[in-house]
């Protein structure tokens, strides 16, 4: 699905010019940052939990093939039907097949980023199926025909007035209101009917426990529980990195997921799904399917550094803390996964040729790494994306490695190396800059710099010279 062309620069220009958008993001994300600290007030405790959460995910990734097999075995024992999909196209076909086998045409969806990655809604619509988002944020943006702009709060770019307008314009007989309680009531009433008449329910998976074959799903609105219990068939979709070994791995992961994502101690609902309705039981789906998607993940798993991308639990806190994301919002990234995690995940899934540009959109400030609940070294992997994009040594492994290789930049950096490796050349260049630096033509990088700044100044005497003149010992 990486074929769509991304004009990142145009997206950035448009996003930065939208004052309402910037105000919405700044206000919402500042709030989320404060809530996170409020529920994790003790720094030492927080760091201990991060250690545990990271360890649980790294342990799982270290024996992922074995855990996936165990998960399949346990799920099958429990009556859950497991499907494997190497590509998103395969995953889409599996879900379409399940729907067709039940003569189903209506899918009610809980929030699932993997289904976004699959572009499932679009796929189903082209096959005459209806896919309805039931997470409030997803519901809002689906009505407005937009993709999510955040992985946890998909409609974060809209304020309540904008939501009121979307409801009034798209839902029959609904007058405009911007009262939050009324907006919630409208969504609830509309969605209840959809749950009742949906043929198949779809959900994501936050954690799949290999030990017990349990699918864990956290949510706040109850729509996830509705999707997984009301329709007769439940389909869960997950990336293959979602498996953890045992139930005892969950406490730090759950605690940090909800704290990092929404600043909650615990979500309203924590669903643990282990089997379909059994004989004599009165509710629950009659059939549960689990679709496990690869889509480039096993390629990440094969590399010790890139593997750490798969530790992600999709809490979205790196987005909330990113000075770039806060300013340009999610849509500018032109990808399902925006923000810092998107800068490392998207190029690996869609390839560096199409999405390598995302890795340039970071000042490497390390704010993401500082808050990541599972300690993904995001800045280091962003650097890796940049290195792979040029692939100087020809040993790249990321899809599209070497896509940005070009003679000009190669020569510039070779010249830079010589200047800073050879002391005599360094002295010469620095003294030339001191003499003629103010006469540099205002083109290229300097032009970009001086659009909002005065040009850098070069001192007539370098620190090397001043230190020497003052008699500072130089061995």
């Amino acid at each position: 699905m990486g074929s769509q062309h991304l004009d990142f620069t145009a997206n950035v220009t448009e996003a930065l010019a939208d004052r309402q958008l910037r105000a919405n993001f700044k206000s919402a994300l500042t709030g989320l940052m404060k809530k996170r600290v409020a529920v994790l007030p003790d720094a030492a405790e927080r760091e201990r939990m991060r250690d545990d959460a990271e360890a649980a995910k790294r342990k799982a990734l270290a024996k992922l093939p074995e855990l996936l097999e165990r998960l399949e075995r346990k799920c099958t024992e429990n009556g859950i039907i497991v499907h494997w999909a190497e590509t998103t196209a395969e995953a889409n076909e599996i879900i379409l097949g399940i729907m067709r086998s039940h003569d189903a045409t209506k899918l009610v969806k809980g929030k699932s980023m993997v289904s976004e990655e699959m572009h499932l809604n679009h796929f189903l619509e082209t096959h005459g199926m209806e896919a309805l988002e039931t997470d409030l944020g997803e519901f809002i943006i689906q009505l407005n025909h937009e993709p999510p702009s955040h992985i946890i709060v998909p409609a974060v770019h809209k304020n309540r007035q904008q939501v009121g307008r979307i409801f009034a314009d798209n839902l029959e007989g609904i007058p405009y209101t911007d009262v939050v309680e009324e907006l919630n009531a409208i969504a609830r009433k509309t969605l209840r009917e959809k749950f009742r008449t949906g043929h198949v329910g779809l959900s994501g998976v936050n954690f799949a426990v290999a030990e017990t074959g349990t699918l864990v799903l956290v949510e706040n609105e109850g729509n996830g529980r509705m999707c997984t219990t009301v329709p007769p068939v439940h389909v869960a979709v997950m990336g293959l990195e979602k498996v953890v070994e045992s139930l005892s791995d969950l406490p730090p992961l759950l605690r940090l997921l909800t704290a990092s994502a929404t600043g909650q101690l615990v979500t309203t609902y924590v669903n643990c799904i282990t089997s379909p309705r059994k004989d004599g039981e009165r509710d629950g789906p009659k059939e549960i399917h689990l679709v496990i998607l690869d889509n480039g993940r096993s390629r990440m798993l094969a590399d010790a550094q890139l593997r750490r991308t798969l530790q992600c639990i999709r809490c979205g806190t790196c987005l909330n803390h990113c000075p770039v994301y806060i300013r340009i919002g999610g849509h500018a990234y032109g990808s399902v996964y925006p923000g810092p995690i998107g800068k490392i995940l998207t190029p690996q899934i869609d390839g560096l040729a199409d999405k390598g540009v995302l890795a340039t959109a970071s000042s490497l400030c390390n704010a993401c790494e500082e808050v990541c609940p599972v300690r993904i070294p995001i800045p280091g992997i962003i650097r890796r994306m940049r290195t792979e994009a040029y692939d100087e040594k020809g040993d790249g492994v990321v899809k599209g490695h070497g896509a940005k290789k070009n003679l000009l930049e190669t020569l510039v950096w070779k010249g830079w190396e010589l200047t800073y490796r050879i002391p005599a050349l360094n002295r010469f260049v620095v003294s030339m800059l001191g003499r003629f630096g103010d006469k540099l033509p205002n083109v290229g990088p300097l032009k970009a710099w001086t659009s909002v700044r005065t040009a850098p100044r070069f001192a007539p005497k370098s620190l090397h010279q001043l230190a020497k003149e003052e008699g500072i010992r130089h061995e």
Binding site: T9, V12, T13, L16, P323, V324, R327, I328, T360, S363, L364, C365, N366, A367, E369, E370, R383, R386, T387, E388, A389, Y390, E392, K393, K404, E409, W413, K414, W416, E417, T419, Y420, R421, P423, V430, L433, G437, P445, A448, W449, T450, V452, R453, T454, A455, P456, R457, F458, K461, S462, L463, H464, Q465, L466, A467, E470, I472, R473, H474, E475
Partner: protein
């Protein structure tokens, strides 16, 4: 990243790594750092073969060039095992944390690690290793402080800088809103993504202006060049000053 460094005791001699940016554009800030170290009774050695930590290439995807330049620095500071003091949190972070990463799969890894453990940020070193005491001789002034991201997140040097400023009795430090947020420099980021960088520095300037301070202090000349250049372009009358230069002037009246 761990910030708990072991500081050397009874320091007699230190190496000084001036950084490429200070060398070219802010040599007075570099000299002020040397003066502050000497005032604390420490002999300063400035190897003339030094140049740049290599971060520009490292962060831009040119690892081989970065490694070649890093090797040249390691060699330039190899004649003694004195601490290496750096008037920049960002360059210090590069040499302290990223050199071992760059050479993780090379035979020289253990030598590189030994080199990296000798790296200290200037303000942090003055405060935590040399325990300097300053007497302010300047007029009352209101300033604000900007930590570079790497001074804050890689070198944990913010508290030391503020403690040093706190010793200056006539200096009122007003903290900036969103102090934790990047100024938008990011090396080649500022020219690869000029619009995002411009939006970041514009917001930073507004936060600085709101403090009512007459100077913005920082331990990193990269941020100062970005913030200072943008303030000058916009006509914001706040002076960008390196911490070392500011302190040196205050204690000399």
């Amino acid at each position: 990243m761990a910030h708990t460094f072991t500081y050397p005791r009874d320091v007699k001699t230190v190496y000084y790594f001036g950084t490429c940016l200070v060398d070219m554009s802010f040599p007075q800030a570099g000299m002020a750092g040397i003066h502050l170290l000497r005032r604390a009774g420490v002999e300063v050695v400035f190897p003339q073969e030094q140049s740049c930590c290599g971060q520009p290439a490292y962060n831009s995807g040119f690892l081989e060039e970065a490694r070649a330049v890093a090797r040249a620095q390691i060699k330039a500071f190899s004649r003694a095992d004195w601490p290496i003091v750096v008037p920049s949190g960002s360059c210090a972070g590069m040499m302290r944390h990223h050199y071992p990463e760059m050479f993780a799969n090379d035979p020289e890894y253990f030598d590189v690690r030994k080199f990296s453990e000798r790296i200290f940020e200037l303000g942090d070193f003055l405060h935590n290793a040399l325990h300097v005491r300053y007497e302010d001789k300047g007029k009352p002034v209101k300033v604000t402080w900007h930590s570079s991201c790497h001074a804050m997140r890689e070198m944990g040097a913010t508290a030391a800088a503020k403690a040093l400023i706190g010793q200056l009795s006539n200096v009122e430090l007003v903290e900036i809103e969103r102090e934790y947020e990047c100024c938008g420099f990011g090396g080649t980021f500022s020219i690869k993504q000029p619009e995002i960088s411009a939006a970041m520095v514009a917001d930073k300037i507004e936060d600085i202006r709101a403090t009512g301070a007459s100077a913005i202090l920082s331990g990193d000349c990269g941020c100062l060049m970005n913030i200072g250049g943008a303030m000058e372009h916009k006509g914001v009358p706040v002076a960008p000053r390196h911490l070392a230069e500011f302190i040196w002037e205050r204690i000399n009246g």
